[in-house]
Subunit: 736 residues, 2 copies
């Protein structure tokens, strides 16, 4: 212990008191920020996706820029911090913070995830997210949060459709459409017992702990109910554009990209009537809202200024073209929340945009898996499934040579379904979706695949968060891909050393929306006519609930990077005879496709039945409700073979109770006489290389096969004996 | 404006005063944390790479664990913050903060970069890094910081070798060797005018702004000179292991992973004599230091307790097996610095290790490019070259269809040379390094390449920060790769949409350490004998400073994934005749290699000269000081052709003044009769796919070629006319 004690500490305390008093005398003793806020300051929209401009931007000429004092909301004598003098008391440790966000469509769903990542990165409190979503966003975000399994985060969904009638009467020129306006009805839409909530636009990014923002509720006077940052652009004064007549506001008005809402007080104050009355009255003289909810919030506040608590500017740093935000952040040097409130988003031009862009990219590309870290100081209910998963993982033996396989099998990957805009195919009874999976090194297959398959596709992509952005740019840069709205891309986020091939296939399969699926692989190009031919075949064969068949599409391969793809079976046979094409894996693994009986196919005019045989792994068209792939097969090997076995076994089982004679009733595998698909060459994958070079890898695959067979016996009893020989085949080093 | 004013503020100020006085009475008025620290607390080493254990860990049985009170260093009544009651004044805005780190070798250099990334992520002040390095670390870090170009970061290097004599007399069992001890001599090694510095181990990670740590200097009394956090494990009490006799210390002693040093006061107090005297005296009874500098720091502090300022525990949260740190961080819930002070590093077992690991991985995988963001509130000298780069980028026209190419050409990529441990080859006059570049999708080539080329290699890898870690694991998991110390891997960090092929080649070329280089591509496997054959040929041909020749290695290709690699020219010719092999790009681009004259090569018994011709792009062996590749060629196309032109043109120019008859003196391109290399198949790269599908891409490549030719004319005058026809050849869609 060092000799320290009261005398020194007394001196320090006295000094502090002195400083405090000095500050009091110099700054009028205002411990909040408000006194130092200048008159109304300009900013940006703040409505749902929060752009600066109305839908049809008028003449963009600059008329004059009003002066704006710098005001970072910094306390006296504090040059390096944005806090308002003495900090507001921090929220009680582990208090649950509530956040509401309105989110609709594919693109906003991507945005909201970046926002949530930034929030989770800095947060120290449990969070409850209240998401008002349309059906698209709900499907995406529900799947995402379910698979993300972030501790101490609860998510509730609210139907945007049900709120629409409450705001659809308001004429609105803002591109966010009706969704922006829905922030107005949150006091009634959110649970009645919820008293406080932070409302955020999808285009904000956190640069600090959200609990600091929550703590600002403590600044509210007894009557204040809405915390807002002022607008940070003179555009809002209505003097930047000709013929732009803004809605009434205090000065530049407030930006609604970040709102602290005292829901309890708003409900008490009759908010519903209040904003409706104001909106109706203003709409008598104004044609429409140009900034959705923000116009109405400002009009109400102008009438009831006592409602608003002005928040320090750093909590909503607005990055539009003409932003005056620099006066805020350059003084504060500490940003809390940035707001991309220009319709140009990251392409906006302002002095420090590179800085902000880098900051945003940090969270855009941030590996969301890392945010699964627990809040160990705040005990909380683990996310659904997390506890069992932890137990299963804990039971693994790290010394087991197959540990990597076991761990990979158990990994729950974050899944972002329909990462890009997608239109579901119209319901058609014989429609077929092509199902496949890929990683970054196969992106270049997509364009060709789109040319060969004009129908719907459901593709699972195994990517990191950063790669998902590269993929986005890749699609945007490709006219072929950008034109296709019927291709659904589902991002499965990478985690672990082995490629989870069957988990990926299951994600793509589960998201297929047509009655039939063509289970393909990304390095195959189907015949140009295959899509039409399959639909016609399904119809002609009368497939449906009664006749369950797997249609086999014969597989071929070329070893040439560039070759003239055959336009017909005749052309294909000519190439086969010329040695330009081979039947698939003819040299390396003929039994994978031998039962297809290529000799018979040459001559066939009609579909013909073939029998299942050991190691058969044809590319098939099956009903969407077919068995899922066995997720135990990760990395290279036996992943499709096991699926065909499952398919065969389940079909047999399904028929047994009816027929009581399973041996006579073989599963119907029908080879289509005009169907074909061709494998293009590529370098061996990392996983196949490991399989070839590592005896352990091969041993582990064998162990997986054995366990698969045990499970099969358990589920199907004696009928599974049929599949046993397959498991006893000698190993080949080139299975796929 | 809201009606608020003095009365409310006065009340708030009064309340604060009251609280302050209450705290003063309750806690003895100590505004620092020390009073609430219990007796000495345990922790971990803190020396250079900061492991917990001495080099030879004794019997690891646990004897007893002493009790340790929780002490997050939190102020009274503040449950959510780790600060000690009222904050120390923050450092003046934009004050330059000084940080010293000792770093030696390849692995510590990787560690230090992760530390620096975490520091840069949170920092708001300009930094000056003082790096005490060995030659290896200096080469790595100098290149890294030079190419990183982070604004407001200055780096100074100090030669560890020069400091060695000052500490090498101290017997030391710690695995950091001498380097850990060097922290003792920083007061004399750092510039005399430097008064304060933060000293860090390479295995710490920041979770907060380093200026908050710097601000703790303000807590020092007039005589204190060393700020430290106590050890956080009972191991340091010497009662966890049998026969472990610790050095003298106050309680558990202090951890030297994070140190605040008042260099000025230490110099004044005669630190050099002080620690030497103490160390000499203790070494009379103790055989060696087991924790390097930490033992000595603690022994000195025990003798002079007035020197030390105890820092709040959150500034060095120690994560060893038996850590007691939970008592610190679970109370504080706010971590400032974490310290991986177990020799097991990330594999250490403790309750919340997953949390800490995720936190560490955040910065390990963080895209360092994003840290190039400027500190716009603190004006600072831009890093060398940054200003010109900014100007050049600003001059680009975003509407130019080739904008992406222009931008990619100008991009300065962060470069981490010798990412993995590497031993330079011994100097041999005819030695040859294989030079190539690759990205993640070609990793599987490395093992085969190592089998084919037993000599030194210099490989540039184009990776993201996250991929670099995957690459590290890939090498560690491969016995073939892990065994090779003569392969240097240089990571060039990804940025931009086009593959900067020639910039990568230049990095690999610049790092080659032998007199000759074999300029290859990653998808080629050389003949097994090529390395020996090349060295013998160089010797036999008498190549050296007088005879400058490029030795041509004839290139072939196979379209098969798996084939039996020929062991001799005879075998190769047989495969060629059988149609299993072709001459390279025979079908698609024969003129790229036509001048090699394969017909002649079949029969050749001795090296023969060939003439340069348009579009020739052979794989060659040249002196290391050959011309660099033209970095303007990014993405696909013409990148090697241009280099061969450069090579030819420069050689001609060099001889002109001597011979005055350039047309007679052609550049010596010698084809070696027994040399060959074979291209293996792979799917087309993204860049070649874009080249094929995008007319704009092809147009931009043509523009680059034209500009290349203009520059060639400018540099070589009329002699460059020779190369003109090449530029006028009709375009082919399959150039590489």
């Amino acid at each position: 212990m060092l000799p320290r004690g009261r005398p020194r500490a007394l001196g320090a305390a006295a000094l502090l008191l002195l400083l405090l008093l000095l500050g009091f005398l110099l700054f009028g003793g205002d411990l909040g920020c408000e006194r130092r806020e200048p008159g109304g300051r300009a900013g940006a929209p703040g409505c749902f996706p929060g752009p600066l401009m109305p839908r049809v931007p008028p003449d963009g000429r600059l008329r004059r820029a009003a002066a704006l004092d710098g005001d970072p909301g910094a306390g006296p004598g504090d040059h390096n911090r944005s806090d308002c003098g003495p900090q507001p008391p921090p929220p009680p440790k582990c208090e649950l913070l509530h956040v509401a966000i309105v989110c609709a469509g594919h693109n906003s769903s991507r945005d909201v995830i970046t926002l949530v990542k930034s929030m989770l990165f800095y947060r120290k409190n449990p969070l409850h997210l209240h998401l008002v979503t349309d059906a698209v966003a709900r499907n995406i975000l529900e799947t995402l949060f379910h698979t993300w399994m972030v501790p101490a985060v609860r998510v509730s969904f609210y139907h945007a459709d049900q709120l629409k009638p409450q705001v659809s009467w308001i004429p609105n020129k803002h591109y966010s459409g009706l969704y922006g306006l829905m922030k107005l009805v949150l006091p009634s839409a959110l649970p009645a017992e919820l008293a406080r909530v932070i409302v955020l636009d999808t285009d904000v990014t956190f640069a600090s702990d959200i609990s600091e923002l929550w703590a600002l509720f403590a600044h509210f006077s007894d009557t204040q109910a809405i915390g807002l940052v002022e607008n940070q652009s003179d555009w809002y004064l209505g003097n930047l554009w000709k013929n732009h007549r803004p809605w009434p506001a205090l000065g530049r008005g407030f930006n609604t990209g970040v709102i602290l809402l005292r829901l309890d007080r708003l409900r008490q104050a009759g908010w519903e009537q209040m904003w409706r009355l104001t909106a109706r009255r203003e709409l008598l003289s104004l044609p429409a809202t140009s900034l959705a909810d923000q116009d109405i919030f400002n009009a109400v506040i102008k009438e009831h200024p006592g409602l608003v608590q002005r928040l320090p500017c750093v909590w909503n740093v607005q990055l539009s073209d003409h932003t005056l935000a620099e006066r805020c952040y350059s003084e504060a040097s500490d940003l809390k929340v940035i707001h991309w409130n220009s319709p140009k988003k990251l392409r906006v031009k302002n002095k420090h945009v590179e800085f902000f862009r880098n900051f945003y990219l940090t969270f855009l590309e941030y590996d969301g898996n890392l945010l699964r870290r627990e809040l160990f100081v705040c005990p909380s209910q683990p996310p659904p499934g997390a506890e069992q998963l932890q137990q299963a993982l804990a039971q693994l033996d790290e010394e087991d040579p197959c540990f990597e396989f076991r761990q990979q099998q158990l990994t729950v990957h974050r899944v972002h379904v329909t990462f890009l805009p997608h239109e579901p195919p119209p319901p058609r009874p014989h429609d077929v979706t092509l199902v496949a999976q890929l990683s970054m090194d196969r992106l270049q297959m997509l364009e060709a695949l789109c040319r060969h398959w004009p129908g719907p596709m459901s593709l699972a992509l195994y990517l990191t968060d950063a790669e998902a952005q590269q993929f986005l740019h890749f699609v945007e840069a490709s006219p072929v891909l950008a034109a296709r709205q019927d291709v659904a891309y589902h991002v499965v986020y990478r985690e672990g050393p082995l490629y989870p091939v069957n988990q990926l296939r299951n994600v793509a399969l589960a998201q297929a929306l047509t009655p039939y699926v063509f289970l393909s692989d990304i390095d195959f190009l189907p015949a140009y006519s295959l899509y039409d031919y399959l639909r016609a075949s399904i119809e002609q064969l009368g497939l449906g609930s009664r006749r369950k068949a797997a249609l086999v599409v014969p597989a071929f391969e070329t070893l040439r990077y560039r070759f003239s793809f055959p336009h017909s079976k005749v052309e294909l046979l000519a190439l086969l005879d010329a040695g330009t094409l081979y039947t698939f894996r003819y040299h390396e693994w003929p039994r994978g496709h031998a039962p297809t009986d290529y000799a018979r196919w040459r001559e066939a005019q009609a579909p013909y039945r073939v029998q299942w045989a050991a190691n058969y792994e044809p590319y098939v068209v099956v009903p969407r409700d077919c068995p899922r792939y066995d997720p135990r097969f990760v990395g290279f090997g036996w992943n499709k073979v096991a699926h065909i076995v499952e398919l065969d076994a389940q079909a047999r089982q399904a028929r047994q109770p009816l027929l009581l004679c399973p041996t006579l009733q073989e599963y119907e595998l029908l080879v289509l006489p005009e169907a074909f698909t061709i494998h293009l060459p590529h370098a061996p994958s990392l996983d196949i290389s490991r399989f070839r070079s590592s005896p352990t890898y091969r041993d582990c695959l064998q162990a997986l096969k054995d366990e698969f067979h045990q499970d099969l016996s358990r589920h199907h009893g004696a009928a599974a004996l049929k599949y046993l020989p397959a498991l006893q085949q000698p190993q080949s080093p080139a299975r796929g």
